[in-house]
Symmetry: D2
Subunit: 346 residues, 4 copies
Amino acid sequence: MPKTMQAIVKPRAGAGLELREVPVPTIGAREALVKTRAMSICGTDLHILHWDPWAANRLKPPLIVGHEFCGDVVEIGRDVTQIKIGDFVSAESHIIDNTCDLCRTGNGHICRNTKIIGVDRDGCYAEYVAMPAENLWLNPPDMRAEIAALMENFGNAVHTGMATPVVARKVLVTGCGPVGLMTILVARAAGARSIYATDISDYRLNLARQLGATLTINVTREKAIEKIFAATDGEGVDVLLEMSGAPSAIRDGFALLKKGGAAALLGLPGKAFEFDLGDLVILRGITVYGIAGRKLWDTWYEARGLIRSGAVDLSPIITHKFKMADFEKAFATMESGESGKVVMIP
Amino acid sequence: MPKTMQAIVKPRAGAGLELREVPVPTIGAREALVKTRAMSICGTDLHILHWDPWAANRLKPPLIVGHEFCGDVVEIGRDVTQIKIGDFVSAESHIIDNTCDLCRTGNGHICRNTKIIGVDRDGCYAEYVAMPAENLWLNPPDMRAEIAALMENFGNAVHTGMATPVVARKVLVTGCGPVGLMTILVARAAGARSIYATDISDYRLNLARQLGATLTINVTREKAIEKIFAATDGEGVDVLLEMSGAPSAIRDGFALLKKGGAAALLGLPGKAFEFDLGDLVILRGITVYGIAGRKLWDTWYEARGLIRSGAVDLSPIITHKFKMADFEKAFATMESGESGKVVMIP
Amino acid sequence: MPKTMQAIVKPRAGAGLELREVPVPTIGAREALVKTRAMSICGTDLHILHWDPWAANRLKPPLIVGHEFCGDVVEIGRDVTQIKIGDFVSAESHIIDNTCDLCRTGNGHICRNTKIIGVDRDGCYAEYVAMPAENLWLNPPDMRAEIAALMENFGNAVHTGMATPVVARKVLVTGCGPVGLMTILVARAAGARSIYATDISDYRLNLARQLGATLTINVTREKAIEKIFAATDGEGVDVLLEMSGAPSAIRDGFALLKKGGAAALLGLPGKAFEFDLGDLVILRGITVYGIAGRKLWDTWYEARGLIRSGAVDLSPIITHKFKMADFEKAFATMESGESGKVVMIP
Amino acid sequence: MPKTMQAIVKPRAGAGLELREVPVPTIGAREALVKTRAMSICGTDLHILHWDPWAANRLKPPLIVGHEFCGDVVEIGRDVTQIKIGDFVSAESHIIDNTCDLCRTGNGHICRNTKIIGVDRDGCYAEYVAMPAENLWLNPPDMRAEIAALMENFGNAVHTGMATPVVARKVLVTGCGPVGLMTILVARAAGARSIYATDISDYRLNLARQLGATLTINVTREKAIEKIFAATDGEGVDVLLEMSGAPSAIRDGFALLKKGGAAALLGLPGKAFEFDLGDLVILRGITVYGIAGRKLWDTWYEARGLIRSGAVDLSPIITHKFKMADFEKAFATMESGESGKVVMIP
């Protein structure tokens, strides 16, 4: 085992990231050391790169960033029994306390004391990463590394797409970034009757159509409300899966929901905005699900089921691959809007 | 049968109501004529009195107003089989089409073509009212008329209080108007561990305590967030039942919800307001139920069960009774904030 | 309009059916007259043919039999508004009272006073059939008649397959008669991870594989328990969809369910049998759904969604077609076990 | 700390138990040592006393028996953080692996590798017991020891009573042993409209009435089906809570359920019996919940909520108290049918 490794680091408060030589982490009794095979970039990583108010308020540099990855277990702590050296694993990025009231009642995904790798402790943009063994998810040995790296983020899509039944129903996905695109795959695999998708990027809307969206709308040029009411004979949709966080998309999405419909919201607006709870939710008998993280571990089992049956193929989502050393190009590509998911190789 | 009757009428566009002599209504083949015994006043009736924008936009005067009542069936149409002359009935005020997709899938309470008595057709503030037979609900002959008149409005409280389990849970009721007070009774009957209640009227908060609220907070003088976090060891509540429609109460209510908690919203804010969907709903994994009307007829059966078992006694909610001829006093009392439910007798 | 028509009739108590010339039915104010285009044969019709104890106990001959069909509306009663002459319709065979407590609480499919066409009143194996207008379901004009005739029976499969989520889950379908085969289509469309299917007919198991079953087992030659535990690494399945009514299949199905799993039961065992509720249901925390008929009208909307999106194609289910005059051949084919669904043309 | 302690022991295969002096247990890194204050007797303990086939097949003597207790933490292992010395605790008797698929998806109560204290490892009928720290439940210091000892068994009643909503519904509890009696308390607290209860012991039926049963039936003298249909105007009940395991009670219970109703089954029949799944479950659209153990830890939170709010008072359930040295009298009392819950004091 080497003593040092390459890692992408937030060196100090402020914008920017650096590739650095840092010590290989040591592990605790219930942890494992994972040699990374592939890592993917999330919107959160862009917030960290730019040091936005959320990042400035939460991160304590220096810190290795990144939280989506897969790799091989190369060392395990004394008390680890559920995995072994040589296992090929993905990882849940939320480390929970297992003792709070939420963890004890099936709500570990919103644990009162969650720590996220790459945010609250060292992350995975590195050659090695230390993880609690219970956070590791065993993959089949022959799974492709790019796909395995996506499992954590795919879990967000699965958690959203499973919040309410979509089978035989009309579904609207607002926002076609990588998680939105994966949500389209989930909705299609789960038997949605039709999938309407909105975004501001033609590149992403093209991908959405290839992945199974029935109709896509670029809201910079077209009115989603008009087009989708027209496409549904004025009925609107049964289910809204909101992946953008944009207030206008949220408002349009609710306006397009049928009375009695359901909305699952994952996209984060970032701050308060004018919202008509009365007309959009109350008077129309809508049910709204706030979606955070992935259910531990229900969502992971569901994600596994969708992948292994072949119902979902994540390959088309991965549009770009870079060496970790070229991380600046990788981040720029992710930010361009002209990409699906961007993967890095250590 | 007399030819004419006394009725409270909105005579023309604009504020105000009048007591008038009008023709006794005639009935259709599937309707029944009900001689009223008691009627109660709802917040909606105050909007109609004052001719607010909602009322101005929806009502087509002249119109007999009022939608909460009970009475005796005195005549039935040719095709009526489910009730008979002499039955003592309450009534569902929403007349639905039974043929739209919502009616056909258990969502009649949000039918696409709902007509409400006293709003879209003649109402019940009168000696007689014509109703579709299917909208009538049979009461036991010995039920008190004031209680029977409240069944429709009590249904709003039952619908809200049953939207999510409250048994053994900590519940917050924001807004202690008559429906809020009835919701406290429902939550108590359904086994809530504790019931926190907020309002701006000491009169109503006193009533709330008498009806079983564990702790009440007058938000004009005290901070609900501080007091309720203190009372719950910083945990917050499991369930929010929002009955006020006030943006500040809605925001506080969500802020007091535990992660993973549920909110049922009945109070109408009237217009859009600044709301932080991200922090208050999404990141915390909250489920929100928009509540409209009463489920047809699940809510009525539940309401009946709660009343007949004695688990709920609505008597203390009825604080004032007037003759219909004194309707101006009745409305003023309702508007003062110094009342529970106000009942009128024809 | 002709005065008489051809119809398949149970002329008197006892086995057998006859093709007869009978009067064209007249309709009531809320009924419609439908000229049939296609009819399909159900297991129930075989019970009626053979006059088994259930049939002997329930039917009052003479009676036109049959309850699965589609056709064109040629006449409507005075009070009919929801459909019009020329509409191409399928039909819900259960005529409900709309007034009992079950109908009024979203359980019309188990109405206390259900009357079934072809069982409790004249059925559809005829050139014309009178139906309550509310029992008719509007089809697109270009839908194939054989498919439209299957909608009612397909509803049984949809009701069963939707009773509990199957997406990303391992599913066992016991019984591959026509409804079992349609249930395989539903499970596949709804995203099941794998579908295991059992039967005693190789013909039907072949069909099952063509329709998407992952693994089929002929229980006359192979042990379902061994094969399916082997195929699931000893875990068993998440969901049982029981379509056979055979006690041995029911017992094996429950034995193969994972702890915490769910079973939806549609197949009727016909009488009591030895069943180990303790080991098979209670100790293992299983949830069991008894499935009767189709939810009115939720199931029909779901069935429509699955068909129109192309997620389900019923064509391969229809293996034989006969003229109504050849009904004896049609019934014999249905009974042979060497068929999918058998359709008759008037 | 003493070196030895008194304990009730199954010394060898065969009927009978002995009070013995045995070593005080030592604890592991994640365990705690609890000095017992009170223990209660469960039906399972009677099976162990008599060495029935289940016990003979599962237990490996010598073994300290007993699994219901409360006490004070007197020592904690190196890695224990969630409790501390001096805490007054009850305990979940099921020790789970936390790593199987069931534990990882909110089904720890049916873990694939459950070990039960007093069955699979040393139990609590002793002065001291070693427990995994995560199995301990913190009680308020002033809670009465007899009540605290009952929390685990009360959890069975809560799990059953919460399986399906009972608020405003008619409930039948079949079996009024201690868990049945506690289930009556749960149903009452949760707002049941009426509670019908059956048993074969007048002593227990008397207790049932005192605790809130609306109507009790001794099935050795009266027909439950006649009496309960009469009491419900022929409608039957909405919910069955089956606590007896007796085939006749199970059959009657299902026969009394309304179409569309729900049954939660906890009582274990012990072996297969003739059951008419078709008539009793399938054709009538019944939902059945198999109930095992207590949900970890949802049920414990609910149990706590019911006790602390005062909605449930377990005191009347505890009819007898003995010193542990008099365990033979305690067991005989429990077996007589003339008791509620029997508690022992070390």
